[in-house]
Symmetry: C2
Subunit: 321 residues, 2 copies
């Protein structure tokens, strides 16, 4: 069995191959460019780790891992178009560099190539893993649409936000683990525990991401701190604050969201703190992490085999107590 770091290295090496033909260059060039920007490759490695949990690695898990990573990159290329994002990982997004039409089409063909990798898996589990993959893919599209809907929706409840995050972020982590486990011969129960492990881990990660965007150390956090606040983005923190703040605070938050005054970030952070949103977020993250680890605990394999997945959860989610 291998650690996240070991599989990550091995996957990165295997994934840095040619996934596309060279012609037409205006189609496959943009696709190659985007993959060259790299990434943490967490999802494919989750698939590999879940697979190794049950037995020696099934070689088909490498195909599934490729498919998952290509699918993830397809969603990023298309999300960047929809969000009009200029940068991704500090580099030009595909539509900025090559135009919208080529970015759209490069994403499309990347999704097809993802299915091509899946289809190389042995017939034993093929239909099952494609079914899970399709379900994830639909849900990720749904999550993206709901996220876009939120931009113009005035009141987003915590339940609605949780549902959106689950679809947009969590199900891909969850499904990557499930696909890996199917290829490892896991039964329905173990598949489901791993799915729930991933789902809750994803939720914990998102709470942490929202938290760090507001309260993170600018030196350690990769992005601009307060970016979500400046963009009026609905986050765990904002939605919670609007739930628990008093009327004066609520009005101030809503006024600040209408404006872009110099002290916007500072003022909103101050309200977050006086409402105890920071402590609440840490508790919520902890709750999801605990549920996640409980689900992993329930997977019916020797505890020693789960060590690497536990380590990974700990590394992704920093515990602060």
């Amino acid at each position: 069995m291998h650690s996240f770091e070991e599989l990550s290295k091995e996957f990165a090496s295997r994934f840095s191959t040619k996934h596309f033909p060279s012609q037409p260059v205006n189609l496959y060039g943009p696709a190659d460019y985007f993959l060259s920007l790299g990434g943490k490759r967490i999802r494919p490695v989750l698939c590999l780790m879940a697979n190794e949990l049950f037995d020696e690695m099934n070689p088909d898990a490498w195909y599934a891992a490729n498919a998952i990573e290509l699918f993830h990159n397809f969603t990023l290329i298309h999300d960047d178009i929809m969000d009009k994002a200029p940068l991704r990982r500090g580099m030009q997004t595909v539509h900025e560099k090559y135009g919208m039409a080529s970015a759209l089409l490069a994403g499309d063909v990347m999704l097809v190539v993802a299915y091509d990798y899946l289809n190389r898996a042995d017939a034993t589990y093929l239909q099952k893993i494609v079914k899970v993959f399709n379900q994830i893919a639909k849900e990720v599209c749904e999550g993206q649409q709901i996220d876009m809907d939120f931009e113009t929706k005035e009141n987003v409840t915590m339940d609605e936000y949780l549902h959106m995050i689950k679809l947009k972020t969590s199900v891909l982590l969850a499904g990557s683990l499930q696909i890996g486990s199917i290829l490892g011969g896991a039964g329905d129960g173990n598949q489901q525990h791993l799915y729930e492990f991933g789902k809750n881990l994803g939720l914990a990660f998102q709470v942490q991401d929202d938290y760090l965007d507001a309260f993170g150390d600018p030196k350690k956090f990769g992005k601009q701190v307060g970016g979500d606040i400046l963009a009026n983005k609905k986050t765990f923190l904002l939605i919670r604050a609007l739930e628990v703040a008093n009327d004066v605070q609520k009005k101030e938050i809503k006024d600040l969201m209408q404006s872009n005054t110099e002290h916007k970030v500072e003022r909103i952070l101050s309200i977050f703190k006086s409402c105890g949103v920071d402590a609440w977020a840490n508790q919520l993250k902890e709750k999801f992490l605990e549920e996640s680890l409980k689900q992993l605990d329930d997977v019916a394999v020797l505890s020693s085999r789960k060590k690497h997945l536990m380590d990974l959860a700990g590394a992704l989610i920093q515990r602060e107590y």
Copy 2:
């Protein structure tokens, strides 16, 4: 066995079902809208006809037919975004009606649902049909990119144009037939003959389409006659004319393409005629149709079983002699 019309009616009836959940409405509403615009459903019916050529209909052919039609509609939604087309079948395109982001995502999810239908096919042929489907899907993306590249490419040769049309239009017809035949238990040889039948039929159809855009009867032709000429679109006719015209004619064509004078269509048509491009196009169409029918003839089943496909070819391609 059933005629094109019979299967077309039956497919239309079965296809007019709910392919998507109802929520989120901003994702699935645009997808439903586009499917409601209708279409001739030629590709799925080719799949069904090829299937019936070999035996009683395999029920899985209906799933494959759905997948093919959804794939085709996915490409139309995305092509319309790329081409900034305002109308499709006389109605607003998806991006015009719902915005670019929703159109992009509706296309994405439609492709996923297409794969979901494919994945319901019995394991016997699943891997084979998905392999063909993926190959087609990649080639259609390639064809669309090459077509976009042509917009800014000054000299497009006949070979390059043929290659583009093959990818953008023909392979989907060809592959639909091949997928149907695989599900009918056809061997490689018969699959290949049906593929080539569809490919050549597609080429004949495109020659006819280019011809009718220039020389069609405005009363019978659904679109504005001369539309390709006004848009400076590379077509079989234009490329041929630039190959065979004398220097004076060539210069006049190029000058007319730079301008948008009142007599542009009339002048270019006149040059087409003096170069004999109209007669040449009819011969070329005939050549592709003959090759197409020859390939159908080579399919090793009783001639009587091929009647419906022959009739269809004749109906799609009007013979004028």
